[in-house]
């Protein structure tokens, strides 16, 4: 873990020494519901940042806003110091920020290897006119294919190379989606619940892959519910509740944070009931009162 986060105070919205992504005053409402209302958040380069929070905290919406799959009502964001508010999702991907989805989007009627090759950036053969003249892109295609085969081996999917992606299991699809995202050599990868629906044996290998990404210098942001996973791999944890960032810090401090405990368990979960409250709850629950 890079040491420079150790000097950062554990406060929501705190500036980081080397931020790759920054968000300011980002707000998104759906009708009367404020889904996301983040005053300030910076993501440190080269570390694994976990985004956690109870259901409905706005994590996925925030992800969508970050990757331009949804447009905020207001707010601004920067990537590598450049403003990216007006960028379309595909432009962000080309700049080096790729994402995966909570519900995996494997391209079912493409083979696994074609799924992988699609991920590569700046393909000459993706131009209509050039695509008609194979010699213009053959060499690049072979190079992409070699890279795809390497990644498939790393993710233990090489035996499925020629199968349609639709025949993969749920866990294998998660692996494929992550591997495919890596084909674009991203600098930031945003994983939306990468472990959801993956069996425990596969979870372990997925975790190793995610740690491997950090070791290669890729910044990882991921949404996760499983606290064991968060504890295992995250360098920094951002906690959201009701659309806001309520806490930040390494996972050791998060568990003890009062705001986080309140968000997950309710503000007065451990306070003793007063005599009046106890009497009220008892009478509510008693079937004898009604008859």
């Amino acid at each position: 873990m890079p040491a420079d986060l150790s000097t950062v105070a554990h406060e929501p919205g705190i500036p980081k020494p080397d931020p790759i992504l920054t968000v300011e005053n980002m707000r998104k409402t759906f009708g009367g519901l404020v889904a996301v209302d983040v005053d300030k958040l910076q993501i440190q380069r080269g570390v694994i940042t976990a985004l956690i929070g109870p259901n409905g905290a706005g994590k996925t919406t925030f992800f969508n806003l970050l990757t331009s799959f949804d447009t905020p009502d207001s707010g601004s964001k920067t990537f590598e110091g450049k403003p990216i508010d007006k960028k379309a999702p595909h432009e962000l991907a080309r700049m080096g920020m790729v994402r995966t989805f909570q519900l995996t989007k494997s391209l079912t009627k493409l083979t696994v290897i074609d799924n992988m090759k699609l991920g590569a950036k700046r393909q000459r053969g993706e131009n209509f006119f050039r695509s008609l003249v194979p010699p213009l892109w053959d060499a690049q295609e072979r190079e992409i294919e070699a890279r795809a085969d390497d990644l498939l081996k790393r993710f233990k999917l090489d035996h499925m190379r020629e199968e349609f992606a639709g025949t993969l299991s749920g866990g294998q699809r998660k692996l494929l989606e992550m591997a495919r995202a890596l084909m674009s050599s991203p600098s930031v990868i945003c994983l939306d619940e990468p472990m959801a629906g993956v069996n425990p044996a596969l979870t372990q290998s997925l975790l190793e892959h995610v740690k491997g990404l950090r070791d290669e210098g890729i910044t990882v942001i991921f949404v996760e519910h499983d606290m064991d996973v968060v504890r295992d791999i995250s360098d920094w944890v951002v906690v959201m509740a009701e659309g806001r960032v309520i806490a930040e810090g390494p996972h050791e401090t998060i568990g003890k944070n009062q705001a986080v405990i309140d968000a997950y368990l309710g503000a007065h979960h451990d306070a003793p009931l007063s005599v009046e409250e106890e009497a009220e709850q008892l009478s509510d629950g008693s079937p004898g009162g009604a008859t």
Binding site: K109, K117, K121, S131, F164
Partner: protein, 338 residues
């Protein structure tokens, strides 16, 4: 009972009419149009229910350029393509950012708008209204090496002009099919297929889904326009009411029959579709003429309509027993259900 019936039928004539129909002008035009629709729906997943609109644009492009604007007939072909491309742009700009069903609604409406505008009195100066633009294809046929009036091979015969347009047309169809084959095995085609499977996934991987869908709409539209051009050149007339919505659904039938998203399916699908129609029509006609189908049940005027009922039944059977069409793969189809 059945044997004397079959013996009394003029099989030579039926085979001749069926085969002529399977390789005739209509089969060729629909094969080409279906190649365009296959690019839209089979490879990109665009729901285009107004393909006949592209054919109309191509046909009217040629007709207007030659008759109304008095332009060179070769320039006219270019103008026909440009007309179809313009339609693709007009349809694509507002709808391709939206969900797939919006394109379906807009295309079916647009194809009718084009037909009704073409026959309106307001545009009479341009399109000559309901009577259409006539007798403009002579220049093309002057290129034809087939100067005789009639060419015969055994039971088969074509007029010289017909033979010319059919040969040119089928050569073009084959060339276009080869082009589609090459496109769809290239990275460009891979992006189209990715968009068909999941547009957001393609976007997340840095592909400009909107622009690729636009390219697909334009390419398939231009090919549809070429099909329309061949049709009007074959008849040497452009009339608005040849471009009715049912044409679009014949093209869909041809495509589904052959198998969606397969290179050769538009060609084989079209030949089977038109061959079967001719076969059934002539078989039924002979049955009626011989009195095996009593006049109280059906007379010869109803044969033409009844064969479409049979085509419908045939399609239902196809969807039940072979939903992937002739060339499709059942395994691939089953992936959608997972």
């Amino acid at each position: 009972m059945t044997v004397p019936i079959l013996a009394a039928i003029d099989w030579a004539q039926i085979v001749q009419l069926t085969v002529s129909s399977a390789i005739g002008v209509e089969a060729m035009v629909f094969a080409m149009a279906a190649i365009g629709l296959n690019i839209h729906f089979g490879y990109t997943g665009l729901l285009n229910f107004g393909h006949v609109g592209f054919m109309a644009m191509g046909g009217y492009g040629v007709g207007i350029a030659i008759v109304t604007w008095q332009l060179n007939p070769y320039l006219a072909i270019l103008i026909g393509v440009v007309f179809a491309l313009v339609l693709a742009l007009i349809l694509g700009v507002p709808t391709l950012r939206l969900r797939a069903d919006y394109l379906a609604i807009v295309t079916i409406a647009a194809s009718e708008v084009i037909r009704i505008m073409a026959r309106s009195t307001t545009l009479r100066g341009l399109t000559r209204g309901a009577e259409g633009l006539n007798e403009f294809a002579g220049e093309y046929y002057s290129l034809s090496p087939f100067k005789q009036n009639l060419y015969e091979w055994g039971p088969f015969f074509f007029t010289g002009n017909n033979l010319f347009i059919v040969i040119i047309g089928w050569i073009l169809v084959i060339l276009l099919a080869v082009m589609v084959w090459q496109l769809m095995r290239s990275p460009w085609g891979r992006v189209l297929k990715a968009i068909r499977e999941d547009e957001d996934a393609a976007r997340a991987l840095g592909k400009n889904a909107y622009w690729y869908k636009m390219q697909s709409l334009m390419l398939g539209g231009a090919i549809g326009g070429m099909a329309g051009m061949l049709q009007v050149i074959a008849k040497s007339t452009v009339q608005p009411d040849t471009f009715v919505p049912v044409i679009t659904f014949f093209i869909w039938t041809v495509l589904i029959l052959g198998g969606v998203g397969r290179v050769w399916s538009p060609i084989v699908g079209s030949m089977i579709f038109w061959g079967l129609l001719a076969l059934m029509e002539n078989l039924l006609r002979q049955f009626v003429a011989e009195g095996w189908i009593p006049p109280s049940l059906m007379d010869s005027n109803q044969v033409g309509i009844f064969r479409f009922i049979l085509v419908g039944l045939g399609l239902i059977a196809l969807m039940t027993f072979r939903p992937q069409g002739i060339f499709g793969s059942r395994e691939e189809m089953a992936l959608d259900a997972r």
